[in-house]
Symmetry: C3
């Protein structure tokens, strides 16, 4: 049951991250393979970093045909949508909001999945390690996507991005390890990160900056 739920969550996060990368590439009018590469790198980046950090080699995601096919399918759907709409560069359609939303789903899923894999690997006793692995897993895919795409990474630029990942990862850790409720912890952790990110975008929440100009 828990494993099925976890698998389902990873599929959703993977497809959401793939869509976020593919859309950014499509907006730049890259060809279909550029779109696929950026989608795949975003989808698999966080999980591969997670597995390297935990010494799980080769990364588990590299031998999962279902993940591979679903992420590829997502990239194809993005390509075809752009191709048939015949529009790039956000004419009459706020693509940033859509990318942001997909990104928040992926961030939530992978922050929690990182903690969960760290716990399974035997680090339940070590909250700092587990939560750090979770946060790095969550922000890793999007960070690689933004670097490849020559943008300042979301994790530096966006309001309450790393903080949302930390809250989701910490909530999952506390519920799964301290309260021993992993089944409930999974949706709660993901929902916490996702809703904080969405609320921060929607209400323009700010964290203090050295100089508050606007």
């Amino acid at each position: 049951m828990l494993q099925n739920l976890f698998f389902l969550a990873e599929v959703v996060g993977l497809m959401a991250f793939a869509a976020s990368g593919a859309m950014l590439a499509a907006e730049k009018n890259l060809d279909i393979f550029g779109i696929w590469v950026l989608g795949m790198v975003t989808a698999f980046g966080g999980g591969v970093i997670r597995d390297l950090l935990l010494g799980i080699t080769p990364p588990a995601m590299f031998s999962n045909y279902i993940f591979f096919l679903l992420a590829t399918l997502t990239c194809c759907v993005v390509f075809l949508s752009y191709r048939f709409s015949g529009q790039v560069q956000s004419k009459g359609f706020d693509y940033r909001t859509v990318v942001n939303c997909f990104d928040a789903v992926g961030l939530g899923v992978f922050s929690v999945s990182g903690v969960s894999v760290a716990i399974d690997a035997g680090y339940a006793e070590n909250p700092l390690l587990s939560v750090t692995v979770g946060v790095v897993t969550g922000i890793g895919g999007g960070m690689i996507r933004d670097i490849l795409n020559s943008e300042i990474p979301s994790v530096l630029r966006k309001h309450i991005y790393a903080l949302a990942a930390i809250i989701g990862a910490l909530l999952y850790y506390l519920m799964a390890v301290e309260l021993k409720l992993p089944l409930l912890a999974l949706p709660c952790g993901i929902a916490a990160t996702f809703s904080i990110r969405m609320a921060a975008t929607w209400y323009h929440w700010h964290l203090p900056r050295p100089l508050d100009r606007n």
Copy 2:
């Protein structure tokens, strides 16, 4: 015999990648150590990523004096050529084509070498894993080079780049594992990737984009 051929191929790929990185640095008029660093990172980047993914630590390339000296020598030759010609920024000389050509050699060699090392590490039964490791090894060095050099990575921008790596890696896998012809597979895989990349550059082959404007 196979091992010698494989070693020779790796030396050629390493020097070609080193030359591509060193030339891009020289065109920006970086100093001799900047040229050397970009050359070395490009030459060793893919192989180090490959070894990390397969759990071969420390990466085998880090203790190979021959590789180290030949890559360093390549960077020196590039530096001296630029120094004595007294020209940077491509006056009367289409350096992009030369870089592209070296890059295609490196891409071919390392895509195939990645599959080969994955097979040797015991993953012959797993085509998705072997080919993925091969493709990541092939595109890894050039990707790091382009990111350090503040360019949009070739793998996103160039026509038929990731596709060429996939075809070479897949061809090697099929010939080496299914047909059990590793000796023939090595030159065929490399040649496939190299010639597809060169033909795509020469004939301006395009893959479909969301908006085909020119």
Copy 3:
């Protein structure tokens, strides 16, 4: 004694790198979490790469509360200094020199620490591997910082950056392994890298470039 000295050096290097990343983020007026993320990535980046290369998983730094707290504290101090001075973008204060100085401390400490951890991991017989791991550890954190910050990495741009790391790492290796004086080697290696970097900045030392225009 040696272990205490080594621990102390790592704390100093970690805080110096954290300050360099946090200051660059603060100068761009990123919010407090952006400042913290760039500081932490710079502080921990090199050490995490070092541990991955040597197969030490999960990276040792991920379970060290003291390192985590001190690096976080450093980022907070940087944030508060900027907040209360109410100035960004280097008005009346040459922040580049300060960042450079912190960066040189971190470079010295981590170049030496990389060699030291490689020797402890059983590679004392292998100078190429040990020194390479040291240099990659030293330049890794700053390289990730500059890439995330959308700058051309210091290691390509700055005079005598990689060379300073190599000299410090080599000196430590020779003194610790050949002369068997690790206790003396530690301050000497760090001081060598630091003073070469500082002197190169101060006296505008140049290495030859393809075209010496100014």
